[in-house]
Structures are given as C-alpha cells and as structure tokens.
C-alpha cells in the first residue's frame, strides 16, 4: 500500500519538476517550483527525515520560491527561446541513467547511523541530526553560516553606489489599514513562537537552528513587507552585530576550546566541554538562529535600492 503512495508521490514530484523546467512562462515555472518543493518535503517525510522535510519546505520551497517570485516581479516579460535541446537532453538522460544504475549497484547500507546514535547523547543532543550538525560536524555548520554571511556580503555589494546606506530591499508602499497590514499584525507573534519552539525542540525532536531561523526570517520579511517596521540601514552597526553574532559566538567558543586544550587534555578546538554540552549547544543554537533569521531575511530582501 505504501509503495503505491510512493509511486504516486514520485510521479507528482517528477511531473512538477518537468513542468517547472519547461513551463511556458517563468511565472508558471516559479509556481511549479514551489509546488515541487512541497512534494519533495513530503518525500522526506516518507524517508523519516523530519528535520530535512522542515528545511526543504522552509528553505527549498519557501525562501527560494519567494526569491524567484520577487526577482520575476522586477523582470520584463521577455520571450525566451531556449538553446539547442539535443546535447542537454543527452547529458541529462545519461546522468540520470548512470545515477540510477549506481543506486542499484550500491552495496548494502554502510552508513554511520548506529555510530552516531550511541555517541549522540554524549555530545549533548538526543536528536542525532542536531548532534551531527552541532557536535560531530560542527566545522561544516560553522562554515555554512559563514557561507550565508558571504552570500549576503555579495548581495549587498551588488547595490549601486548611490543606494548604499539605505535599508536592504525595495522600500514598500503599503496602505496603512489594508489587509496586508492586518495580516502583518496577526501572524508574526505566532510565527515567533513557532520559530523559537522549533529551535528549542531541535535538541531532542526534529527542528533546529536553520529551520527555526527560516521561520523567524519569514516573520521578519512579513513585518517589513507589511510596512509595520522599517528595516535597519545596511551600514548600521546593530544590524551587522546581529548578522555576525551567531558565527562569532560559535567561533569564539571553538577558539576558547583550542586555547584550553593547551593545558586541559579534554578540551580541543570546536569541542564543547562534556559537563554542560547540552546547554552550550542550545545557547549556540539560539545565537545562530538569530543570525540566520536576519541573514536570510536580508538575503531574500536583496540589495538596498533607492526609489527607482
């Protein structure tokens, strides 16, 4: 019975992907992409990967979808004839066949599942995924937050010199008592609660800094779109401090570990002391969430633009 569901789900995913790829207008492609993202997060549920499902729905379908739609709004409807189709088709088909064969030729599972599962409690987080993210492969996660920061710096550098100094994104003109303003007042409190809950739950149940951060970013975007609050200027110290707070705390903790390792054998770079690993991980996660939320919101809002 579940096989039938999976087959239907896969058919829907592939169908949505094909429509997104070859849709007539770009708007249709973007909409199909969001639908495709939702289906993929359903697929993650089928694979019992709840954290990934959250991330895919929030970032894969949500934020990326908004990015595409926002960019679409600024683009002229240009007729676009794609290039020659033969070579890409061969490349795509070849790669798909090769990967399909490889999937069937893979040996039986050789994953690190069991190893992680019994080492996770010691690392300060029952949820193995959070344990991997914030303890075993903490260096990956740290670099990843730096990647977010790099992308934001790149986006801000793309603004025009005259617009430098203004708040990120396009200034919004909203009817003060309109529906969007009302919507903007109702949703944020709930969103904030859900976001923080996600982060807190992350240590034991599915959730975590990135998923919570994304929800909070959505809240921030909604508030600024509804014109309720003016985003801080790009050059404001406070905004920049919040942006770098997460990576700074994470890197600072890591570095303190390295310095301690000089005389304490247990400590090491990026290592969290055993005793209060759980609270440290939670602390780092909260700071990370704050930075991730603001960075993602600024990323989606785009570079600062003047009235044009």
């Amino acid at each position: 019975m579940t096989l039938a569901f999976d087959l239907v789900l896969c058919a829907m995913i592939v169908g949505a992907a094909i429509c997104a790829a070859v849709a007539g207008t770009i708007f249709a492609a973007a909409v199909f992409f969001i639908v495709y993202g939702i289906f993929v997060s359903l697929a993650w549920l089928r694979l019992d990967a709840f954290d990934v499902a959250l991330a895919e729905a929030a970032m894969g379908a949500g934020l990326t979808g908004i990015l595409l739609l926002r960019a679409l709004g600024r683009m002229p409807a240009s007729e676009d004839r794609p290039g020659p189709a033969l070579a890409p088709a061969l490349a795509g088909a070849g790669l798909a066949l090769a990967l399909g064969w490889a999937f069937l030729a893979l040996p039986e599972s050789a994953g690190l599942g069991p190893v992680v599962r019994n080492a996770a409690p010691g690392a300060g987080a029952e949820n193995p995924v959070t344990a991997v993210l914030l303890a075993f492969r903490a260096w990956d996660t740290l670099l990843e937050t730096i990647v977010l920061l790099a992308a934001l710096l790149g986006v801000w550098a793309l603004s025009r010199d005259e617009a430098w100094g203004l708040p990120p994104g396009l200034p919004q003109r909203v009817r003060p008592d309109g529906v969007l303003a009302g919507f903007g007042r109702i949703l944020p409190p709930i969103g904030a609660v859900v976001g923080v809950y996600l982060v807190w739950a992350g240590t034991s149940r599915p959730g975590g800094a990135f998923q919570g951060g994304t929800v909070l970013a959505a809240v921030a975007l909604l508030v600024s779109m509804a014109g309720l609050a003016q985003a801080p200027r790009v050059t404001s110290g406070a905004l920049r401090l919040v942006l770098v707070a997460g990576p700074l705390v994470f890197l600072g903790m890591a570095f303190i570990g390295a310095v301690l390792s000089l005389w304490q054998p247990g400590a090491a770079f990026l290592a969290l002391p055993e005793a209060h690993a759980k609270s440290l991980i939670l602390g780092i996660e909260l700071m990370l969430t704050l930075s991730i939320a603001v960075t993602l919101a600024a990323l989606v809002a785009g570079p600062p633009e003047d009235r044009a």
Binding site: G178, L180, F183, L187, I190
Partner: protein
C-alpha cells in the same frame, strides 16, 4: 469507530477539494476563481482536519492540527484579498 468517522470526513473533504479545483478551471475570471479556491479548499481542509482529529493521540497533536487550520484560514483570506485587489488594478 474513530476510523469510520475519519474515512467519511476525509472523503467529504476530497469532494470539496475536487469542487474547488473544478471551480478554478471552469470559472472565467480571477475573482470567481478566488471564490472557488478559498471557500471550497478551506472547507475541505477543515473537514480533513476534523477527520484527522479522530486519529490524534493526544491533546498536543489536536492543538497542532487546529493551529494548522487556523493559520491556513488566515493566510488564505489575506492572500485572496490581496490577489483580488491587485486584479482590480488599484494598489493594495
């Protein structure tokens, strides 16, 4: 007993979703399509959640299901308003 209740409600929800989709395809202009979507689908969602409540294994899950429905309702209402206003041509 709960299962039968769930089956009835989810099939009813399905009916409403189909109605909403037919409305979306058949209706001529944006506004009427909006009607079909927001009303039929949200009702369908409500029935679906009622059906699932029977399966819920505790107050917390029940609460989450209700929260989902409430949020969906608010979002759908606001979105429909905005799309309608944009379709009318004046700024929102």
């Amino acid at each position: 007993m709960g299962d039968v209740f769930s089956v009835i409600l989810t099939s009813a929800a399905l009916l409403f979703y189909v109605a909403g989709t037919v409305g979306l395809i058949r209706f001529p202009d944006t506004h009427s399509r909006l009607h079909a979507l927001t009303k039929a689908d949200n009702l369908g969602l409500g029935l679906l959640i009622l059906g699932l409540m029977a399966q819920a294994d505790g107050w917390v899950t029940l609460g989450k299901l209700l929260l989902t429905w409430v949020l969906a309702l608010i979002a759908a209402g606001a979105a429909a308003q905005l799309v309608a206003r944009t379709a009318l041509g004046d700024r929102r």
